[in-house]
């Protein structure tokens, strides 16, 4: 906008100087300063409804001339500056040749004067918006110091929830706007860069036979955008805001506008950033009990139910005896990560041509120990070079060129193109036995993991096969050092995306804009599990996968300015869009490696291939009108008609509508202390397209299919290829999911713009939600993808911006963000929540979205469902024994009526919970992963206009996580809590650690002592003292018996970001020929306040959807950065 104003000013100056020089002129001049007296450099001053105007210089001074006739007409003079409230006043002519007019502009605390992109190229003053669009400036994104644009947004936008997957290099993030309204679709918003959609696909790799939970983390395509290239990010939050994008926009839209060139001298900027990172928490593992079973050491045993170790701190420690050696597995394997970033950008241009060019290199190495450092730690003689030195790193190169050329006065060509090259080494994560976490947390404390190769044989060595004598080994899971240095997961991406835009303005009232965008990426992946890796019996596996992802988007927009054409305050936009998305993946799997340490496909005796190909086309029309009534009521209405090849042929086209109204009531009603007040209402519809090819079914020849319980078979069998029918029947009537949203809001500014408040309340109904419905299996098919669920999300959002201190040498800005969202699945397959309550559980539709999270009517989306002990509130008939040892069955809710609350635990006569209640089934737990509210508190203090200190606190309250890792580690005897365990020696007077009242009491207690979540123990054995022994931990407290006790509050408050920046312009910068130089010291995630006992409450099992599941997820990190900017 600034560019346009200066360009227009220039043109007008040229035209009018020639015509008015001969007539009498009046000189207008003055200063423009802000509320604390500082000059506002580059402010625009114009005479309203004329072409006369000027801009302020570095002292805030402006000067221009107008004809005397204009001056005599007492025109309105208007001063504006970005981030400040513009001011309009009457220019009074005093019969002098000169009029002095000074302005003081106040801070625009609500940012009302900024122009935001509302979609399809349309722009609107924020003041006139009736919908929720949040605008984040590029500098705020850059300051986060993150490589990924999405994680940089944390804490900046109300209602945009972002969860970083882990602390590994190039990590991914789950993000969503205003809760989830889909079951099978993506939760992620549509991402638009410079008017064209780009891919934010997260595609899992790791072989079709492994579950998503066992894949290495793969980089998301959102990480390909260089944050230094971003001018602004607009987040379109409600369906009304995003409706113009139709059937791809029900999750909202994130629109990125990249930096452009500017007329004038070429400006050059170089940025260097370096940082370190490290684990932000230590996992609680026990150190007092060794490897083995039943209290005895057993070599090769997977679990830690062995002897009590003679360790300092343990109640049985005896310093006269040899101290048992234990190992800090986590501390030894983790180190400091490091990162650096170079970015060079240049922009400039002439009157007709501008350019912006940037190049960057970003490198990040995670905290996992490098092999070179590992070698210093061990005495093992290595017979071979490991497969990789750095287990987890990320390297990205970007080049971006954006240019604009004024071909003719009314024809502008703009082009932008980015090339990205990404290379990633990642670590196998999560629950899989191939993964890092399982071996790391499950290995007994007295087993030294570090020699991960048998020094003699050089074969993989783990706690379950410590003297590996065969290459394949006999491991129950992998040594984590083996996972780091011998297993390999690599990803290499080449990506080109950008657009060409032709802007034609044949008249002053109409313009045409055509944008042709493309996004192409080739993602090459390699996964190596060498001979000796646990999976596949240690025979070695190689997977190579090439993924091509391509999108074309052609968008034609015709704009009519009603002011000019009809003399009406309206604008009309009509458009047409064609979109094509193509995806292809080839995956080749080699099994049974022949030569060790040689990873070519020819070296594998069994080779399988998988191919997947998809194409989807969409074609749309849209029309949008805006109307300004009395310059205080702003109306917008639009409709979009979408057709897609993914819609059922019988119903190929669907409409999405929107309407919004914004009333600036402060123009009509003068309220004390209120500077600005706006009421807004919006209604809109947006959609989510069905997955490709849900219309069709057919016959397939799967390379691998599950026969249950991790057993896989293939249809290429005995050298022959077989086919079988699809178990999913096609749906010719599939429709897009539809989100209908109503929102109301108010934007207020008080006390001379010192306080600004935005408040929004919304209610969204996602109908026709697509999910997999059960088909009667005996018909020969057992599922179908169909529309049939209704999900509600409603919430409140508010933002408070304040400027408590505004002085020349000290200013303090503060922002508090709050966003709550509640979610409910209202209906599935015609069954409402109320009806579901009265139905047999087996008849109620339910879809699992992760191991524990399910979707079912009457429940929050993702509520955990799982095994429990016999608990109250579920109508459970528990099993117990009477005084004579005879089995009795008790309807616990009835027998103990009035004494219990939901989830209290029934304690049998023997003192333990009942794990074997009648008709043991999954129960709904009442807990879910969705936070009740999220928010942030941001403060920025500026000193002397040169030093900026900022601090961002990020808050998430109320969500829960199933700490299933804890269940597993209880079972395996390595969790820190299992130090409180009973061992038979404790009661043996001949044992060295025997002490009446100490060892004899150790590991014993009441079940009520270890109940979480406020649950009480009720039943005949409530006061019974029991032994927390191997059997207790491995069965009653292990997996598949009760998850509620390990569901934990995932609320957190994080010191997300803290930053100190200094802007330098002095003799030194002059000496270096620099315009300015700045440096910044920043840190992220330094402190986390949480009750969560696992690695981190922000953890997420899946990369692109919330799961609330922690099962050996990778840990998170803190990080700190030092950044230097040189501006020429």
């Amino acid at each position: 906008m600034k560019l346009k104003l200066s360009l227009y000013s220039f043109l007008y100056y040229c035209c009018f100087f020639a015509t008015v020089s001969a007539i009498d002129l009046v000189n207008i001049e003055g200063y423009v300063i802000n509320d604390i007296g500082s000059p506002l450099v580059g402010s625009n001053i114009i005479i309203k409804n004329t072409a006369y105007g000027g801009a302020t210089d570095t002292d805030g001074f402006y000067q221009f001339s107008i004809p005397i006739e204009v001056a005599r007409s007492s025109p309105l003079i208007f001063a504006s500056y970005i981030g400040y409230r513009s001011t309009v006043d009457t220019l009074l002519y005093n019969n002098e040749k000169e009029i002095i007019k000074n302005f003081q502009l106040n801070r625009d605390v609500l940012d009302l004067e900024s122009i935001v992109v509302t979609g399809m190229g349309a722009k609107q003053y924020k003041e006139k918006l009736g919908v929720s669009i949040e605008s984040v400036k590029g500098e705020a994104v850059v300051k986060a110091g993150e490589v990924n644009m999405i994680t940089s947004l944390r804490g900046n936008v109300p209602g945009l929830e972002i969860r970083k997957t882990s602390g590994d290099a190039g990590t991914n993030a789950f993000f969503r706007i205003r809760g989830t309204g889909t079951i099978s679709g993506s939760h992620e918003p549509l991402i638009i860069v410079d008017g064209s959609p780009v891919s934010n696909r997260t595609y899992d790799s790791g072989g079709s036979e492994t579950s998503e939970r066992g894949h290495p983390e793969s980089s998301s395509r959102t990480g390909d955008i260089n944050v230094e290239d971003i001018e602004t990010i607009e987040v379109l939050k409600g369906a009304a805001a995003s409706a113009i994008y139709g059937s791809r926009a029900s999750n909202g839209v994130i629109m990125i506008t990249t930096k452009s060139g500017r007329t004038g001298k070429t400006q050059l900027t170089y940025k260097f950033q370096a940082g370190i990172s490290a684990l932000n928490n230590k996992y609680p593992v026990q150190q007092w009990f060794g490897q083995g079973k039943a209290g005895n050491f057993i070599q090769g045993e997977a679990f830690s139910w062995g002897k009590p170790l003679n360790i300092k701190g343990s109640p049985w420690f005896d310093d006269s005896r040899d101290i048992d050696q234990v190992f800090d597995h986590i501390g030894e394997i983790s180190d400091y990560g490091n990162s650096y970033d170079h970015n060079v950008s240049a922009y400039g241009g002439s009157d007709k041509t501008t350019f912006y060019l940037s190049m960057s290199k970003s490198y990040e190495k995670s905290h996992w120990l490098k092999f070179a450092d590992y070698k210093k730690m061990v005495s093992t003689v290595f017979g071979h070079i490991p497969n990789r030195d750095v287990p987890s790193d990320y390297e990205r190169y970007t080049v971006r060129l954006k240019g604009s050329h004024l071909i003719r006065d009314n024809l502008t060509l703009t082009g932008s193109m980015s090339y990205v090259n990404v290379s990633v080494n990642s670590v196998m994560r999560a629950h899989t036995t191939d993964g890092l976490g399982k071996g790391l947390l499950s290995t007994p404390p007295d087993f030294d993991l570090k020699p991960y190769l048998n020094p003699v044989t050089q074969y993989h060595r783990s706690s379950t096969d410590p003297n590996s004598l065969t290459p394949e080994g006999d491991h129950s899971w992998n040594n984590p050092y083996w996972v780091l240095y011998e297993a390999m997961q690599k990803q290499h991406v080449d990506r080109l995306y950008g657009s060409i835009q032709l802007d034609f303005r044949p008249t002053d009232w109409g313009s045409l804009k055509y944008t042709m965008g493309t996004d192409y990426s080739l993602d090459e992946r390699t996964e190596v599990l060498p001979i000796g890796t646990y999976r596949e019996g240690g025979i070695g596996r190689l997977i190579r996968e090439d993924i091509v992802d391509q999108e074309f988007d052609g968008n034609l927009v015709f704009n009519i300015d009603g002011n000019k054409l009809f003399n009406l305050p309206m604008n009309l936009m009509m458009g047409h869009n064609l979109n094509s998305r193509y995806f292809r993946s080839y995956e080749i799997t080699g099994l049974d490696q022949t030569l060790p340490n040689y990873f070519q496909m020819e070296n594998y005796s069994s080779i399988y291939a998988d191919e997947r190909l998809t194409l989807r086309h969409a074609e749309s029309f849209f029309i949008q009108g805006t109307y300004d009534l009395f310059d205080e009521l702003y109306l917008t209405s639009a409709i979009r008609n979408d057709g897609s090849s993914t819609f059922g042929p019988s119903d190929r086209r669907h409409n999405f509508r929107k309407f919004s109204a914004a009333w600036n009531f402060s123009k009509r009603l003068k309220i004390p202390y209120l500077n600005f007040g706006k009421l807004r209402y919006a209604f809109g519809e947006a959609g989510e397209q069905p997955n490709v090819y849900t219309i069709y079914s057919g016959y397939m020849s799967p390379t691998s299919f599950s026969a249950g319980d991790k057993v896989n078979l293939a249809l290429t069998y005995n050298g022959l290829t077989g086919y079988r029918s699809d178990d999913r029947i096609g749906n010719m009537r599939i429709r897009p999911e539809r989100r209908t949203e109503n929102e109301i809001g108010v934007d207020l500014s008080f006390l001379e713009d010192k306080i600004g408040i935005n408040f929004t309340s919304y209610k969204a109904l996602n109908s026709d939600v697509i999910f997999t419905i059960d088909v009667i299996p005996s018909t020969g098919s057992d599922e179908q993808t169909a529309n049939g669920a209704i999900i509600e999300n409603k919430g409140l959002e508010f933002v408070i911006n304040t400027n408590p201190i505004r002085k020349k040498n000290l200013s303090w800005n503060s922002r508090f963000i709050y966003a709550s969202n509640t979610n409910m699945v209202l209906e599935m397959n015609g069954v409402s929540g109320d009806e579901a309550k009265n139905m047999d559980y087996s008849q109620v539709p339910s879809v699992g979205i992760s191991k524990f999270s399910e979707v079912s009517p009457g429940h929050t989306l993702g509520e955990f469902r799982g095994y429990t002990w016999a608990r109250f509130g579920y109508g459970i008939t528990a099993k117990d024994f009477d005084e004579n040892g005879n089995t009795v069955y008790i309807n616990i809710d009835s027998v103990y009526a009035g004494q219990w609350k939901r989830n209290d635990v029934y304690i049998q006569r023997d003192g333990y919970p009942d794990t074997d209640w009648l008709n043991r089934e999954y129960v709904w737990t009442g807990y879910d992963p969705n936070p009740d509210w999220t928010g942030s508190f941001y403060n920025e203090v500026e000193l002397f206009g040169k030093i900026k200190f900022s601090c961002l606190i990020d808050i998430s309250m109320g969500g829960h996580i199933v700490n299933y890792t804890k269940n597993a580690l209880y079972e395996w005897g390595t969790h820190g809590d299992t130090e409180n365990r009973y061992h038979s020696s404790f009661d043996n007077p001949n044992w060295h650690g025997y002490e009446e009242g100490v060892s004899t009491e150790w590991g014993k207690g009441k079940i009520s002592d270890m109940l979480n979540n406020g649950a009480n123990a009720i039943g005949p054995g409530t006061d019974q003292i029991v032994a927390f022994d191997e059997i207790f931990y491995t069965t009653i407290a292990g997996r598949k018996f009760d998850i509620i006790n390990n569901i934990e509050d995932a609320s957190y408050i994080k010191l997300r970001e803290i930053s100190l920046a200094y802007q330098m312009t002095n003799k030194y910068t002059d000496y270096l020929g620099l315009k300015s130089m700045s440096l910044r010291l920043s840190a992220r995630d330094l402190i986390t306040w949480t009750k969560y006992s696992g690695w981190d409450p922000e953890t997420n099992m899946y990369q692109n959807r919330i799961s609330g599941e922690d099962y050996f997820n990778q840990p998170q990190t803190w990080g700190t950065n030092f950044t230097l900017y040189f501006n020429w």
Binding site: Y608, D709, K710, D727, D782
Partner: protein, 464 residues
């Protein structure tokens, strides 16, 4: 202005005409990742798909479940612990039930039969009929009444249950038809390697058809009495006879990935989920039976009882039942001979029954001595009456290790009785289950299904 008018005109044309063609075309009108026209898939390819899919039915969860009920194996962890302790969950059978009827199952097997009839490929027709007979008769053994006549048939949206009797009678007719088709031979070319069971050998198929028919008749003995034994014996006499195992119908597995034994895959990927069952281990130990170390590894071999919360049950012997390429025997020569022995005993010919029993043990001893030369099996020279009956059934139970038929044998005869050598019951508190729960998915979608079924409900051929 002319340019503007032209532009507006062009825009209007675009708006009015639209681009409907843009939504159709190659890769848009079909799923390129699937074959949508079954006519271009050979029946041989469908047969491969069905055979492999049916291995996934016959050797996986259902198979494991029965071995736990019969205490040949023990469930030690997670849901297997619950299963072993007679608290199975109906959702656990969803996958295998769907596989019986759906992809690769009944719906595809019937397509093979239809195409085979059209193409006069009678051998393939017979093979497909035998697969249908095996999985449907097994399903009726496990659940009792099941959908059959209306199943996998597009004319029926909610298939009704057929009684177990109706299902078995229909299967017997199907077997009879299969035998006739095998007798017709192959009119059109059939590449024998597509038949993973017998390489297209019609005579072997006819033999297993008779043994399967004999098994089904025998399973109705509790209801049909002597008639059942007569029919069973009639078919068993034409059943699988070769004790070298070449006539046995078993799953084909190899050491190649995704072709490996289902038992092997399950065991190595689910550490300690299952181990040796107490009852079988106790019987083998008590009889000083050499198969103890043929079936299981470990010294000593340990079998786990229901209620025990230890993970110490011995693993399957990695050279035999726990090997990478072990395939479960669906129909075997020794089952055929045990049927003969039981029929002989039940029809009053104890002497022949004893001779048959001992001859089976002779042959089995020879078989297992190829693995362990010192392996010896017990003999029953002077046993008669109910003891002989018990010996026949106990030996059948021991011989048919990991075979689903053991459950029907126990329901029919009460042998083995669930008491160990210490005289203690090895049953769960509620007793030994008599059928599987219908799968949760079928119950929740098909209104014709009972929702409150129990594992202690008696099926039709198990009235007492």
């Amino acid at each position: 202005m002319n340019k503007l008018k032209s532009t507006i005109f062009c825009l209007l044309v675009i708006f009015l005409m639209g681009c409907e063609d843009f939504l159709t075309g190659d890769l848009l009108d079909n799923d390129p990742n699937k074959v949508d026209d079954v006519s271009i898939i050979s029946i041989e390819s469908l047969l491969v798909g069905s055979q492999v899919s049916m291995y996934g039915v016959m050797e996986s969860y259902l198979n494991r479940m029965v071995t736990m009920i019969m205490q040949q194996m023990a469930g030690q962890k997670l849901e297997y612990y619950s299963d072993y302790n007679c608290s199975p969950i109906d959702r656990n059978t969803n996958g295998r039930w769907s596989a019986i009827y759906g992809t690769g199952g009944l719906i595809d097997i019937r397509t093979i039969q239809e195409k085979a009839r059209d193409q006069e490929k009678y051998l393939v027709l017979g093979i497909a009929q035998m697969w249908e007979a095996l999985i449907i008769s097994t399903a009726a053994d496990l659940w009792g009444d099941i959908p059959y006549s209306e199943a996998a048939n597009s004319n029926y949206e909610s298939p009704n249950l057929d009684s177990q009797r109706e299902v078995h009678e229909a299967v017997l007719e199907l077997i009879n038809d299969a035998i006739n088709n095998f007798s017709l031979g192959q009119v059109q070319t059939f590449s024998s390697n597509y038949d993973f069971s017998f390489g297209g050998n019609a005579n072997k198929w006819i033999a297993v058809a008779h043994t399967l028919a004999a098994r089904i008749y025998l399973n109705w003995a509790e209801v049909d009495g002597i008639q059942a034994y007569e029919n069973a014996l009639f078919h068993a006499e034409q059943g699988v006879s070769s004790s070298n195992g070449t006539g046995d119908w078993r799953a084909l597995h190899s050491t190649t990935n995704n072709e490996q034994s289902i038992w092997w895959q399950f065991t190595i990927k689910n550490n300690d989920y299952m181990g040796a069952g107490h009852l079988l281990v106790d019987m083998l130990e008590n009889d000083n039976d050499g198969r103890l170390n043929i079936y299981f590894s470990g010294d000593p071999v340990i079998g786990v009882k229901p209620g025990e919360t230890q993970f110490y049950g011995s693993d399957l012997n990695s050279n035999t039942y726990g090997s990478r390429d072990y395939g479960v025997e669906f129909i075997s020569w020794y089952e055929n001979k045990f049927i003969v022995a039981e029929c002989q005993y039940s029809m009053g010919d104890e002497n022949s029954a004893r001779i048959t029993l001992n001859s089976i043990l002779d042959d089995l001893e020879v078989k297992w001595q190829t693995i362990e030369s010192t392996c010896s099996l017990p003999r029953y020279e002077n046993v008669g009456g109910n003891n002989l009956y018990e010996a026949i059934m106990n030996e059948k139970y021991k011989a048919m290790f990991l075979n689903i038929q053991t459950w029907s044998d126990w329901r029919r005869t009460g042998f083995p009785n669930f008491i160990d050598s210490d005289g203690e019951s090895t049953s769960c508190a509620g007793g030994t289950p008599r059928r599987l729960l219908y799968p949760e998915k079928e119950k929740s979608t098909n209104p014709n299904f009972p929702t409150n079924d129990s594992i202690y409900d008696r099926v039709q051929n198990d009235p007492n």
